[in-house]
């Protein structure tokens, strides 16, 4: 049993110069077989393992990860959390996730630094205004907090924004979700890993999957770099590599992967205390607790796994940021990187059974992956444990592309793809 993190454990460890902290999770060698093998040690995979153990009592579980925990899209996003999606199915799923975020630090005994500082979406045109109005109304009908701000209220909420007449991107209004905000990206992976490990889940890093053993349409084992691991059920939570693993298992997905870039500036004193997003010009910005501005750019249009993107994309985003926030014009950018976002044609995820019996897929989250981490793990664990989806993710089936029941969230997904 692990010791709890608290002010007392902090003081106790201070006496020994913080050299006596126990490891947050074990690093065991894989056992020959598990009830459930989860492929992918990002936030989604680790959350799934945690909820499998906690909600469904399934503890003979392994999470296998190619690299290190949270080294993929979990560690590469701009950490924005919100639930103001348009359609009922998405609003319910993301709202469930947001509610889990609200109690997560206490539940995991790990500070995920969830800060509900408010997420503001700007409207730059009459069309944007109407779309925002529609989305605000839909959100409120679904019990998701969302309100309209006039330009004057936008200026009050975020004083550094430039609303003088004649700007390249005039602001005609905005939507605001006050319960939205940001969280710490590493903490969500590490917190779930620590909590899942405490419940008996084996977390195995540096263990890439090389293939699956499938007999009579049912998955029996996972071939990995650390040997064959037999599995009652196999759950994929690999985001950008969903198509690659699906091909190994012999089925196809409607997912395409695009590079999506983000960048951070040099750290400065607190200057912006909310999240500002502009869907139309692909600029979103917030400030981390460390002081650096965290800026999200648009996608590169081509398929790419390079975890990096082209300079024209970031240039366009920074031009928009400088236009909306002229005081940032002399800021220097420290780092820029890319993630591999797995996007579906309708900009909604797939949390579903697959054509292979005993194999499940959780992917295609596109630009919605980070905010959905707790909710995604929660519904995925239910889907795996009961071999059927929870009502919250019933609509996010793989066969919706056959039936035509698409959930078009391009408007709310914030990044066009």
């Amino acid at each position: 049993m692990k010791s709890r993190y608290s002010i007392f454990s902090l003081l106790r460890n201070a006496l020994s110069y913080h050299e006596g902290w126990p490891e947050a999770w074990r690093s065991p060698e894989p056992k020959p077989s598990y009830d459930v093998v989860i492929v992918g040690g990002g936030g989604h995979g680790l959350a799934t393992a945690y909820y499998l153990a906690k909600e469904h009592g399934i503890t003979n579980v392994a999470v296998i990860e190619r690299g290190w925990l949270g080294g993929g899209n979990t560690g590469r996003n701009t950490t924005i959390v919100r639930s103001n999606y348009l359609w009922d199915e998405s609003a319910h799923l993301y709202e469930h996730s947001l509610k889990l975020w609200e109690g997560l630090t206490r539940e995991l005994n790990y500070n995920v630094m969830f800060s509900q500082r408010g997420v503001m979406n700007l409207a730059h045109s009459q069309h944007d205004l109407r779309e925002l109005g529609r989305r605000i109304a839909a959100n409120r009908l679904n019990g998701v907090d969302s309100e309209f701000l006039t330009p004057r209220q936008v200026k009050q909420f975020c004083p550094i924004i430039d609303l003088r007449e004649g700007g390249r991107y005039p602001v005609l209004g905005a939507s605001l979700q006050r319960r939205g905000g940001t969280a710490r990206h590493d903490a969500i992976a590490w917190g779930y890993a620590r909590a899942a490990d405490a419940l008996g889940v084996d977390i195995i890093q540096e263990c890439p999957v090389e293939g699956f053993r499938i007999e009579k349409g049912r998955v029996r084992a996972v071939e990995t770099a650390k040997g064959t691991i037999e599995a009652g059920k196999v759950a994929l939570a690999v985001a950008g590599h969903s198509s690659v693993l699906a091909e190994l298992a012999g089925f196809r997905l409607p997912i395409v992967c695009h590079p999506l870039q983000a960048l951070v500036s040099e750290p400065v004193k607190p200057v912006i205390d909310c999240v500002v997003m502009s869907n139309a010009v692909h600029a979103y910005i917030s400030q981390s607790d460390k002081g650096d501005l965290v800026i999200g750019a648009g996608v590169d249009r081509y398929i790419g796994y390079s975890q990096g993107g082209g300079l024209p994309v970031t240039e366009e985003t920074l031009a928009a940021i400088c236009e909306l926030f002229p005081l940032f014009r002399r800021m220097r950018m420290m780092r820029c990187w890319g993630g591999t976002v797995d996007t579906c044609p309708d900009a909604s995820p797939i949390v579903s059974k697959t054509p292979v019996e005993g194999m499940y897929i959780n992917g295609g989250w596109g630009t919605g992956g980070f905010k959905s981490t707790p909710g995604s793990g929660w519904v995925y664990a239910h889907t795996i444990a009961h071999d059927e989806p929870h009502p919250l993710n019933a609509a996010f089936k793989l066969d919706r592309f056959t039936t035509g029941y698409l959930i078009d969230e391009h408007g709310a997904a914030a990044v066009a793809h």
């Binding site: 997905l253 409607p254 997912i255 395409v256 992967c257 398929i303 790419g304 796994y305 592309f401 039936t403």
Partner: protein, 97 residues
Amino acid sequence: MLLIPCPYCGPREETEFSYGGEAHIERPKQPEALSDEAWADYLFMTSNTKGVFLERWVHSHGCRRWFNAARDTLTNEVLAVYEMGDTPPKLEKRTYV
């Protein structure tokens, strides 16, 4: 940024081009006879290859002509370009874990 060798204009910057997605997806010959699964496969399912990928580009701000390219989606090397309707060149398969 990619440097894309347009088969008609030579190497040009990526910003001159628009992307056309996966190449060699043929429109069904008899759409009325197609099952829902076959429609879904035609409309939505993609190879999304990590490795050598055959794709279409159009030189929007140049000659405005379409062409095919073989590109490594991990390293972004453009390995070959060829005209629409041509058979793809023989290229070594690259597999990444």
